[in-house]
């Protein structure tokens, strides 16, 4: 009997990936988050790809992109999320992808079209409230973010944001 159970365990571990847990529903922006929301869209926003190519460390940047780039583009309990260049299209509903915001159909193009946005307080620390609760955001929304660029030696782009405009 135990052999049967142990065998079933073996088959269980071979089973494919399941549907990921649904993210918590985002309510409207919190009172704390209102400070980061912009009433009007900032002008001259660059796409993520363009910003990655041109922005230098500590440059002021205005970035437009779609929230996604990972099955879980959020960081639990932190005001930070991933954005992807709007030129990339998320996987279509007809492809049966349960998380179209992970852009799994264009995974090879993601590294050059992805950036992370962090909302920071006056001391430069990331605000310790989940971006979904702070700003009422959800996956695949197009956002225009204003802030300062932070580059690392590998060319990754982090935007230390001070304002966001939610386009849709």
């Amino acid at each position: 009997m135990l052999t049967v159970l142990a065998t079933v365990i073996g088959f269980g571990s071979l089973a494919g990936c399941g549907t990921p847990a649904a993210p918590p529903a985002s309510a409207g922006p919190s009172a704390e988050g209102q400070a980061f929301l912009l009433a009007t869209e900032p002008a001259a926003a660059k796409g993520v790809k363009e910003a990655r190519a041109s922005a230098k460390d500590a440059d002021e940047v205005t970035l437009v992109g779609r929230i996604g780039g990972d099955a879980k583009p959020w960081i639990e309990g932190q005001a930070a999320f991933l954005v992807v260049d709007s030129a990339l299209k998320p996987c279509g509903a007809d492809e049966g992808c349960p998380t179209p915001w992970d852009y799994c159909c264009d995974a090879d193009q993601l590294p050059n079209n992805k950036a992370i946005v962090k909302f920071v307080d006056g001391s430069g620390k990331t605000v310790a409230t989940d971006a979904r609760q702070l700003l009422g955001l959800k996956e695949l929304q197009t956002v225009v973010v204003h802030g300062r660029a932070q580059r690392d030696e590998a060319g990754n782009l982090t935007v230390l944001a001070d304002g966001v405009f939610v386009r849709n």
């Binding site: 932190q78 992805k114 992370i116």
Partner: protein, 389 residues
């Protein structure tokens, strides 16, 4: 006047000894059923416990995004450990040593002798920082491995399906094309590590011709959260890392094995159901053979309800004795027995819950098994019953 006059308590007990062979057989059958229930519950409890105690809430595992939950498929750059140590503020430190443990985690063929058949084992490449994060691990005997040496866990023999004698300190085993001397044995409080073989990371990398790692375990200081490590992984998306709290990792594995646990409980129900039917069969036989006696009891003035209660008392006494027998056997022979599974091995656990479930099933067997035949016997007319042979 209307008070129910019960049969004396001793009457039921004496009845059990009047038919010793039948009572002994019923006792053996009931003991077997309860023992089976205890074994299955011990399996479920052992599996749950192994995964539950494997995680430390202050430890975060950093591994490859593409590996899903399978560490063996994870490959991350060797510099990840250094980057994490240099980039994160919330890493615990002691005497200048950061709680950052790079590890290789592989499944490989292990031989206890050059001509012995290979058995699938789990090998973890470790550094002296590893015990800082795997706080459950205790060295039982021997010493930390030096060059060409390894540590084996308490359940490694069970995982390899070999005799524990072959994994004593000083013996050698063979994997990945070379021989390794066993320098020590460790325990990990029932955690999954207990079925692993630990080898020095650098040496394992050299032999495997691998420069990468499977994972980096990071110990957080007070006030730091797993999200800090997660944020680093998202910022350094060129490294394709993911960070998962160790407790969350093992909780996900628990969820992964949920169907197995459900299957286990279904087996418990089926075994208990079969036991009830076996009990019913035995009790029908026992009661039908006593129709004249039961009718005589009615004739001398005992009410049917009192006789049914006496029959239930007999069956319950028998089933509870069987439960105690089974619990003693399970604690003596089943508890702690190692069982192999894909991730390693775990020990069967006959804990309080297992004994409670086993004895509960035993009690139900006595109660449910006795009522229908007793009720049937009471439906015989007294006159016909007295004439029965």
């Amino acid at each position: 006047m209307f008070r129910l006059r019960l049969l004396p308590w001793e009457y039921g007990i004496r009845n059990l000894f009047r038919r010793p062979a039948r009572s002994a057989l019923t006792l053996a059958a009931l003991s077997t059923v309860v023992l089976l229930v205890l074994v299955v519950v011990a399996f479920i409890r052992g599996l749950e416990s192994s995964l539950a105690v494997s995680g430390d809430e202050r430890v975060v595992l950093v591994y490859s995004i593409g590996a899903a939950a399978d560490m063996e498929n994870s490959a991350i750059p060797a510099r990840t450990a250094g980057l994490l140590a240099a980039s994160l503020d919330g890493i615990e430190q002691r005497f200048g040593t950061s709680y950052v443990a790079p590890e290789l985690y592989i499944g490989t063929k292990v031989q206890t002798a050059a001509d012995a058949p290979g058995m699938f084992g789990i090998v973890r490449g470790v550094t002296p920082a590893t015990p800082l994060l795997r706080r459950q691990v205790q060295l039982l005997a021997g010493k930390w491995p030096g060059a060409g040496e390894i540590l084996v866990g308490r359940l490694t023999a069970a995982k390899l399906g070999c005799d524990a004698e072959l994994l004593q300190i000083g013996k050698t085993i063979r994997f990945d094309g070379r021989e390794w001397r066993i320098s020590g044995q460790f325990t990990a409080g029932g955690a999954a590590f207990e079925s692993e073989i630990w080898a020095p990371l650098a040496e394992l990398q050299t032999i495997l011709k691998r420069q990468d790692l499977s994972l980096v375990a990071v110990g957080l200081s007070a006030g730091a959260a797993p999200a800090d490590v997660e944020l680093f992984c998202k910022e350094r998306y060129d490294l394709e890392l993911q960070a998962v709290a160790e407790t969350a990792y093992y909780a996900a594995l628990q969820k992964h094995y949920q169907p197995v646990r459900m299957l286990g409980w279904v087996v418990v129900l089926l075994v208990a159901g079969a036991g009830v039917f076996a009990g019913l069969n035995t009790m029908y036989g026992a009661v039908v053979g006593r129709v004249r006696e039961l009718s005589t009891l009615q004739a001398v003035g005992f009410r049917r309800r009192a006789i049914v209660i006496s029959l239930i008392q007999e069956a319950t006494l028998l089933s509870m004795t069987a439960s105690l027998n089974a619990a003693v056997v399970a604690l003596a022979l089943v508890n702690g027995t190692a069982v192999r599974f894909t991730m390693g091995a775990f020990a069967l656990r006959v804990d309080g819950l297992a004994v409670l479930v086993g004895c509960g099933v035993g009690l139900l067997l006595g109660l449910i098994g006795a009522i229908p035949p007793a009720v049937k016997a009471m439906r015989y007319p007294v006159v016909e019953g007295l004439k029965a042979i």
